[in-house]
């Protein structure tokens, strides 16, 4: 029984309501689960479905054994889920620090130590904390986005292409940080375009095609699977 | 019930209401309402073209109606030769200066390279032009406005039959719309709304304050009519005989006869415009308009020039409103710039279109009828309600007096509520747009 699981999800947007055709995504505490697949496969849609941002026609989402299929996204924040969307994932007009403070919006306790942890994780953010997030570089913006999500002290962190548009060096950096986050016991569910590198750090990997699971296995096994290599990893 | 029977029922009810007013109040009142219903329907058709066909949010109808109205006055009133003699020359000169200034600006724009220098030159030209224009304009206005100020004080018009003005009014409005559209049609919906609202206020400000042209708030009364006068009818043999055959009082009959004449004229106009609108809506042109409205990006990707199409429909729709404005002034027999109010001349028309059913021409006509009828009848109904409500109160009580006096404002509340209710519970209006699937 998985910590977070979206099971047999079927749904989509308004009239286009069959983007997901029975897809299953799950992740354990202290694990990284990576979703890869071609553009338009429904990876982002699957993430949104798990976070309650679209209505499922069928299937369910469970967190720690509890059915949360009908919770609103805000309510999922309350029970320890955090999501970094693929695009528009920072408050561009607000400073880095304010982005983090907003991340802690739901918290009533003192969150200064969480903020210190985020700054430890991403030192560049501390340096730029008074700068508007919209004026940062792509990689720095992704760090702000992840930092904002961490401010809620989530037990599950969902990342949609955190390395989109960043250089290979920064990507490796980010992956290192993500491993650090996992090591602190958080479950990480993420979509990645850089499939090879991502599967390398993945405990579980999903290859999503056309709204349903094509392959599901450990990251290593997928990397070694000749079929996956041929069709999805460029040989 | 199918939509067709529903539509039939709606119009039947409307006719029934008008008959009821004829029986209960008087036929003269009923006809007055009906005539204004017809004009409202024309206006609503104009708005429907812009909003219903093309999704353009124009809230400047008041301006276009007033432009039509001033056309009616300018076409029909006889010229005031004394005023022309006193100030005509200078006025022409100031007009000439306007042309010269505009030409100078165009020349600068054409000949000089872009940059700061050009901007300064333009600014200089504008300032010089402004003073040149004022130099002739001020004495001209002074001379014209002091020409028999009590009676004239303006230039008068062309002295042509007022019916011409329905066309001229449309053309005036079209010209203004072309200019406005050129400037503002690229804007987002709400900016376009604010822009058109502002322009309509400016139009009214001009008509109210340029006394040499319109006599301003002193109004121009006694516009020539396209139909006979009651007194002439009452004096003519054939009419007395005619009313005798109906057993009617010649005085009342004459008033009804005059109104009927207007009714016929208005119905012809409404009929022609409605016919053309329907033809246009169902032509390839109309389909394209709706395609642009519904899927703007796709349409422009398909190479349709969205802005040019929008300008077209903006001009045509505004012209229709201008025609209606001229008709209205004709019916009133006077031009009174002080009476234009955006609630009545712009937003009420919007209520008509939305209640009737945006995108449906017959719906716009129905909306024009229903809403105008309610607007007029809200007053007696409101008064009646208030009298019932206050019947228990003391006759001298201030509250009672206040409530009865304020009853007239109920109609604003009613119109707003109708708009909100229709939007919420029947967002397609009484007669929804007919979606045809061609090709």
């Amino acid at each position: 029984m998985s910590f977070l699981i979206g099971e047999n999800m079927i749904g989509g947007y308004g009239s286009a309501d069959n983007i997901l055709k029975g897809c299953t995504l799950s992740v354990e505490r202290g694990q990284i689960a990576v979703i890869v697949g071609p553009n338009g496969a429904g990876k982002s849609t699957g993430m949104k479905a798990v976070f309650g941002m679209l209505n499922l026609r069928e299937g369910s989402v469970k967190l720690d054994g509890k059915d949360i299929t009908n919770l609103k996204p805000q309510e999922r924040v309350n029970i320890g889920m955090a999501f970094v969307p693929q695009t528009h994932n920072v408050f561009g007009g607000m400073s880095v620090e304010e982005n983090l403070i907003i991340g802690a919006y739901r918290r009533e306790d003192d969150f200064s130590d969480t903020m210190a942890q985020v700054y430890d994780l991403f030192p560049i953010l501390k340096e730029k904390r008074h700068q508007p997030a919209g004026e940062l570089s792509g990689g720095q913006r992704q760090q702000v986005a992840v930092g904002r999500a961490l401010m809620t002290q989530p037990s599950v962190l969902m990342l949609d292409e955190p390395t989109a548009g960043v250089s290979p060096i920064v990507m490796d950096e980010l992956f290192d940080r993500i491993i650090e986050i996992r090591n602190s016991g958080i479950a990480i569910l993420m979509v990645e375009q850089n499939a090879r590198q991502a599967l390398n750090i993945a405990d579980v990997g999903y290859v999503l095609v056309n709204g349903s699971n094509r392959f599901t296995d450990t990251g290593q096994a997928l990397l070694e699977n000749p079929e996956v290599r041929k069709s999805f990893l460029g040989g | 019930m199918t939509q067709t029977t529903k539509n039939f029922v709606y119009f039947a009810i409307m006719a029934g209401l008008l008959v009821a007013v004829g029986v209960i109040q008087s036929w003269s009142v009923s006809l007055s309402i009906f005539n204004l219903c017809l004009i409202s329907a024309v206006m609503a058709l104009g708005v429907n073209m812009q909003w219903g066909y093309a999704g353009l949010f124009n809230v400047g109808m008041m301006g276009f109606a007033a432009i039509g109205g001033v056309a009616a006055m300018l076409v029909s009133m006889p010229p005031v030769t004394a005023a022309w003699a006193n100030g005509g020359g200078d006025l022409m000169m100031s007009g000439l200066m306007v042309v010269v200034t505009v030409l100078a600006i165009i020349l600068i724009l054409r000949k000089m390279p872009k940059g700061k220098k050009r901007n300064y030159t333009i600014a200089a030209a504008v300032i010089a032009g402004y003073f040149l224009i004022r130099h002739f304009y001020d004495p001209a206005v002074g001379a014209i406005e002091s020409t028999e100020a009590a009676k004239y004080g303006y230039l008068g018009g062309l002295g042509m039959p007022i019916l011409f003005s329905w066309i001229i009014g449309g053309l005036f409005a079209a010209g203004a719309a072309w200019l406005i559209g050129k400037i503002s049609l690229g804007l987002r919906a709400d900016y376009l709304a604010i822009a058109t609202l502002g322009i309509s206020e400016i139009v009214i400000a001009i008509l109210k304050n340029e006394d040499w042209l319109t006599r301003g708030v002193k109004n121009v009364t006694g516009l020539p009519r396209p139909v006979p006068y009651e007194v002439d009818l009452q004096a003519s043999e054939w009419f007395i005989n005619l009313s005798a055959t109906f057993g009617a009082d010649p005085i009342e009959a004459s008033s009804i006869f005059v109104k009927l004449c207007y009714t016929v004229l208005f119905m012809v106009v409404l009929g022609v415009i409605l016919y053309l609108s329907e033809r246009a809506l169902n032509s390839p042109w109309g389909r394209m308009m709706r395609a642009i409205r519904d899927r703007r990006d796709a349409a422009s990707a398909m190479g349709k020039d969205v802005k040019a199409r929008h300008l077209q429909i903006f001009v045509i729709g505004s012209a229709v409103v201008g025609i209606a404005g001229a008709m209205l002034t004709t019916l009133d027999g006077q031009f009174t710039p002080g009476t234009y109010n955006p609630l009545r001349y712009t937003f009420l028309i919007w209520v008509m279109v939305i209640v009737g059913g945006s995108g449906n021409n017959w719906g716009a006509v129905l909306g024009g009828f229903v809403i105008w009828f309610l607007w007029v009848e809200a007053e007696p109904i409101g008064l009646f309600v208030m009298e019932v409500v206050t019947s228990g109160m003391d006759d001298g009580s201030a509250l009672k007096a206040h409530l009865i006096e304020s009853a007239a404002h109920m109609r604003m509340i009613m119109m707003g509520s109708i708009l909100l209710l229709v939007m919420r519970f029947s967002p397609k209006g009484l007669m929804p747009e007919v979606v045809r699937h061609h090709d």
Binding site: - | I183, F347, L419, M423
Partner: protein
């Protein structure tokens, strides 16, 4: 030298003081419009009516207070009544949100439907105001009338031009400064204010951060209604209250919000003053002013007025159009949707 001083006083009296006053009133109005735009993302055509409604209630409470002998010393009694007017405006605006706008929000309707709905609300509120207080002009200023009188000023300075500052003008500026300061403190430093800015910046991400959109929307309406009432009362004290005038104020208020950069609060304030000063400077007759400055024998004989005061709406509008064409985001960058 004295001529120059006189000309400055003249300008202060007829341009600067009225411009500051009117600018403050527009700024408060435009702030409301801009907040609604930033959060709810539509242009609220009923804002002028909200001003009228709040002011009307304030006037009625003022009358009541006057009738029972409550007064505020040298200050207008209306200031005591203002909280009641503001509360009433908040109530009616929240009610309209609950029964009208919320539905479209849940349906995620296009902004234009919100706009049309606001026209419906405008009709209803317009009717309510006229129904209750009537369409006629009302004056409700009491207390001290002047801070500085022209005559006293002349005696004090020995200049031939006097400076008059009405109590209502001084109050307008002072209250505006206080209100704007409080608003900015709130937006910048309070949890709710930050949530509002976040919501305005990126609605989806605000939801993902656990911000409750309905709460943000309600607070925004409430603030806008309070600002509208304050603007309306100050305008009414300074000039007079007439429902139709308030409806017409919509145009310069919109112009101010857009010129400054819609959705941007600082822009709204800047826009308010830009519009107000343009209106005042363009419609002021400079004859007397130039007489002080022009060399002997060169005094102008015309009024030297660029545009008659009847066209003051045209001024705000022309600025609006120029800004929309040249810099659609406004002077300070506002939000450009679509």
């Amino acid at each position: 030298m004295e001529d120059i001083l006189n000309s400055i006083i003249l300008l202060a009296n007829f341009v600067i003081v009225p411009g500051m006053t009117y600018g403050s009133q527009l700024a408060l109005g435009a702030l409301g419009v801009t907040l609604i735009y930033g959060i709810l993302r539509f242009s609220n055509f009923a804002h002028g009516e909200t001003m009228a409604f709040g002011t009307m209630i304030t006037i009625m409470v003022t009358w009541f207070m006057q009738s029972v002998g409550i007064s505020f010393g040298p200050l207008p009694t209306a200031l005591l009544a203002l909280p009641f007017g503001a509360a009433a405006a908040v109530a009616i605006v929240l009610f309209s949100d609950r029964v009208v706008y919320k539905y479209y929000r849940e349906k995620k309707s296009n902004a234009v439907f919100f706009l049309i709905a606001s026209i419906g609300i405008m009709f209803v509120m317009n009717g309510i105001v006229r129904f209750i207080i009537g369409p006629k002009e009302q004056r409700f200023a009491d207390g001290e009338r002047f801070i500085i009188k022209a005559r006293e000023f002349k005696q004090m300075t020995g200049l031939s031009e006097g400076l008059t500052i009405k109590m209502t003008q001084g109050l307008t500026v002072v209250i505006t400064i206080i209100v704007v300061y409080a608003l900015f403190r709130f937006l910048q430093h309070s949890k709710m204010g930050r949530a509002m800015r976040a919501y305005s910046d990126n609605e989806d991400l605000a939801l993902l951060s656990g911000i409750n959109p309905e709460k943000v929307v309600k607070i925004t309406w409430a603030i806008a209604a309070v600002l509208a009432t304050i603007a309306g009362v100050l305008y009414g004290l300074d000039k007079s209250f007439k429902p139709f005038t308030y409806f017409q104020l919509l145009l310069p208020i919109f112009a101010a919000a857009i010129v400054g950069g819609v959705g941007n609060p600082i822009g709204a304030i800047l826009g308010g003053f830009v519009i107000a000063f343009s209106e005042v400077t363009v419609t002021y007759a400079y004859k007397k002013f130039l007489k002080y400055l022009a060399p002997e024998g060169m005094e102008p004989d015309s009024l030297m007025q660029l545009l008659s005061t009847d066209y003051k709406f045209a001024v705000s509008f022309i600025i609006l159009v120029v800004v929309l064409l040249v810099r659609p985001t406004g002077i300070l960058k506002g939000r450009v949707l679509e």
